[in-house]
């Protein structure tokens, strides 16, 4: 049977067909749909873990106990999970252990363009790279077999264009793989230095065996064409290059680590000239160069940004820049993403802006609080950074007034992911930071996944709910306040009071993400035209439902959720609820 699947759905399907027992993930674009899709299969235990490190720890535990397990994460998630990854390379796998990383060339939804192929090399684990959904399914299934045969975790690397492109996949059936019996083996699984020294020798020997496997791996294939030009490419870059050079000879690399050097040498002997087409870093190119083979690559193809067929054609001289369409256009305003109408975060950012606070931020929808007209965020580094960043800034700020302007802003899911340790650090080291946890009862940006604070599992079943207030009070922080994020007066009062305190405090503006309330019937608000002076203060709220029509403000009744933020902001009392008919 055939189906049109995204790369992410295909990975889940491949894992299921390959007999996976356990799947763990923390959501992150472009990886999120892998675990969402895997959760649909009743044979597989799946979870939203609190973060990627814990994901990999749970999955490797399952592997120790003989089960097949998979984790999926976005590229930067692997930074969080890097610690167990490096140990697990030495420990190896009992049940197949597969780590899926989804890189984001072009940074559609990420803070950097890191190339996780480097992780495979530095952690010394094999790496498979599918170039469409069919391969995503096949490689994931195969990854479990490679993992068990070679006693190693296996990485599968997708990119945004593989994860979020759909293509046709031939579906297979599930092969049930029994969970192996647990056998205690401390020399393998307790990596004391004495054990690890021995295991390191094993790892090097394993990688040599895996290299030979990569040389013969059927998806690393030479496609003979014009001998004048040989192209080496991986992932979706292979597809772009095929589009541009239909006649050329190709070496399609699907298992890029360990690097199949003999295969590359063989290919090089058949063609006159070699070009490597790859996204991000010159990973393959450098390996080819190490073999003493002359090669063209990143001298022509950019390190920055995502490729596409046109870009490849222009960089490699098939098309001239001048030949590209250059439409004559007026100024086109940008359309940046924005907080939704009725978003519970909007009010908090209005207060932060009004009080001229310095807000260290974090990763989530609320990072959008940085953009105009809110302009209410000063920093954003990585998951959980806001709390440590705020504490660090306050440490060195001599001016007490300035110091007390600093607040940390973090989402509920991000707080569970990696904010807790920052908060404990702050408390222990005598910090005074006010931490604002924007609790919208979900992981919103990635499409509404549950987390410990919601108490629902990845399968939509009832789990156990972590009480945020009790958790924080348990640390020893006495001042913890849950507030209504739609009440600007209350928000302002509480924030003003808490930033003055010589103790740490936590404010939790709590209301469900407005997108979770889609079924509800909202009574929208309207502008009373006689009272509106056209002062535009309401536009500063940052609500996409409000715009100017002529010299009066107008509220779009289809977008408005009746949250009243604009009404509370209007100095002329010119906004009211639309009367019910």
């Amino acid at each position: 049977m055939k189906a049109l699947l995204s790369g992410n759905e295909a990975v889940a399907r491949g894992a299921w067909e390959g007999g996976v027992h356990v799947g763990c993930a923390y959501p992150g674009t472009p990886s999120t749909e892998i675990m969402e899709a895997l959760s649909q299969y009743p044979e597989v235990y799946t979870e939203w873990s609190v973060n990627e490190k814990v994901s990999l720890e749970v999955a490797s535990g399952a592997s120790f106990a003989g089960a097949r397990a998979m984790v999926a994460m976005k590229h930067v998630g692997l930074n969080v999970a890097a610690d167990p990854l490096f140990s697990l390379s030495y420990i190896g796998a009992t049940g197949g252990l597969v780590i899926v990383t989804c890189d984001d060339p072009g940074m559609h939804s990420s803070q950097n363009e890191q190339d996780n192929r480097h992780y495979a090399r530095s952690a010394k684990v094999p790496l498979l790279e599918p170039s469409d959904s069919q391969e995503a399914k096949e490689f994931t299934r195969l990854a479990f077999e490679i993992s068990e045969e070679f006693d190693t975790p296996v990485m599968v690397r997708l990119t945004t264009r593989i994860s979020h492109s759909k293509s046709i996949v031939e579906l297979g059936e599930r092969k049930e793989v029994p969970v192996k019996e647990y056998v205690k083996d401390v020399k393998k699984r307790v990596i004391l230095p004495a054990h690890a020294r021995e295991r390191h020798g094993f790892v090097e020997e394993r990688m040599e065996r895996l290299r030979k496997y990569a040389e013969e791996f059927p998806y690393n294939r030479i496609e003979e064409g014009d001998p004048e030009l040989g192209i080496i490419a991986d992932s979706v870059a292979y597809m772009y290059a095929k589009e541009v050079f239909p006649e050329a000879s190709f070496l399609k690399l699907s298992m890029v680590w360990p690097f199949p050097r003999e295969l590359v040498r063989r290919f090089a002997s058949k063609v006159k000239k070699i070009i490597v087409v790859e996204e991000n870093d010159p990973f393959i190119e450098e390996q080819v160069r190490l073999l003493g083979i002359e090669v063209t690559g990143k001298d022509k193809i950019p390190l920055v940004g995502e490729l596409n067929p046109t870009r490849v054609a222009v960089c490699l001289g098939v098309k001239k820049e001048e030949e590209l369409p250059k439409p004559e256009l007026p100024h086109i305003p940008k359309r940046p993403p924005a907080l939704c109408p009725g978003c519970p975060h909007t009010g908090v950012f209005n207060v932060i802006r009004k009080l001229k606070l310095i807000a260290t931020g974090d990763i989530g929808c609320y990072t959008l609080g940085t953009l105009p007209p809110l302009n209410a965020m000063d920093t954003c580094v990585e998951m959980g950074a806001s709390i440590g960043n705020a504490f660090g800034m306050q440490l060195v700020m001599k001016d007490d007034k300035l110091r007390k302007k600093v607040v940390a802003v973090i989402g509920d899911s991000t707080f569970f992911h990696s904010g807790i340790t920052g908060l404990i650090n702050l408390y222990y080291n005598r910090g005074i930071t006010t931490v604002i946890i924007l609790d919208n009862r979900t992981t919103a940006m990635t499409g509404h996944q549950d987390h410990p604070g919601t108490g629902k599992t990845a399968k939509g079943e009832k789990g156990r709910e972590v009480d945020l207030v009790k958790l924080i009070k348990g640390i020893g922080i006495e001042h913890v306040y849950v507030v209504n994020p739609y009440d600007l007066k209350e928000l302002t009062e509480v924030i003003k009071r808490e930033i003055e305190r010589e103790e740490p405090s936590v404010i939790i503006p709590r209301a469900p993400c407005v997108l979770l309330r889609r079924g509800e019937k909202f009574t929208p608000m309207r502008v009373i035209e006689d009272k509106c002076t056209g002062c535009r203060v309401c536009l500063k709220v940052g609500c996409p439902a409000i715009s100017m029509r002529g010299d009066k403000a107008r509220i779009d009744p289809f977008l408005c959720t009746g949250c009243t933020l604009c009404q509370q902001t209007c100095p002329f009392g010119a906004i009211e609820f639309v009367e019910e008919k």
């Binding site: 674009t29 095929k242 046109t310 439409p327 993403p337 924005a338 715009s547």
Partner: protein, 191 residues
């Protein structure tokens, strides 16, 4: 020959559903099909673009400048934004619908005048269809996307009628199937 179609508009307009339906319909018509789309940060009320490609054998799911045969625009400014993707002899099908980006709504930027005029200045083959009006007549603005697909269908007869229907049935929620089939039909007659 591979055909490349760009569907563009604003997050929330049903672009991803539309490109799913088109890809499925291409598959059910016996073609190889691929599509690309964006999720996450790039979706929240921001501009959204999805490309669909079908033919005997499709390599890249993504296209670059000068590769699109057709741009199907759910919001007119977004057509302008993506116009460089169109082939010199390409076609634009657009609904005359305006959604202000937040910077425009806040008075920080301006929406250009006569967007349709600008499109026509650059493209000779432009079809303006009032899909939003039809969707509103049908009682649900959210089916604009499927009305637009109906309008597109006349320009790509290689995708068969039954394939469209099968794709719509598969991709939209059960209770909205009839509404969407009607929307598609109305779209077919619009062009």
């Amino acid at each position: 020959m591979t055909k490349s179609i760009v569907i563009c508009g604003v997050g929330g307009q049903g672009i991803l559903v539309a490109s799913d339906i088109l890809s499925l319909a291409a598959m059910y018509s016996g073609f190889d099909a691929k599509k690309s789309e964006v999720h996450g940060m790039s979706q929240r009320g921001g501009d959204v673009i999805s490309t669909v490609r079908y033919g005997e054998k499709v390599y890249s799911p993504l296209i670059g400048e000068g590769m699109a045969d057709i741009i199907l625009g759910f919001e007119k400014l977004e057509v302008l934004r993506n116009l460089s993707l169109l082939k010199p002899d390409g076609k634009v099908i657009v609904t005359d619908f305006r959604l202000d980006p937040l910077p425009v709504a806040c008075g920080l930027d301006e929406y250009p005048d006569d967007v349709i005029g600008w499109i026509k200045k650059n493209v000779s083959d432009v079809h303006v269809v009032d899909a939003v009006k039809v969707a509103v007549e049908l009682g649900n603005i959210r089916v604009t996307n499927v009305v637009m697909l109906g309008a597109l269908s006349g320009h790509i007869p290689e995708i068969k009628k039954e394939a469209w229907e099968q794709a719509i049935r598969e991709r939209v929620p059960q209770k909205y199937v009839d509404l969407n089939l009607t929307a598609f039909e109305r779209g077919c007659n619009i062009s």
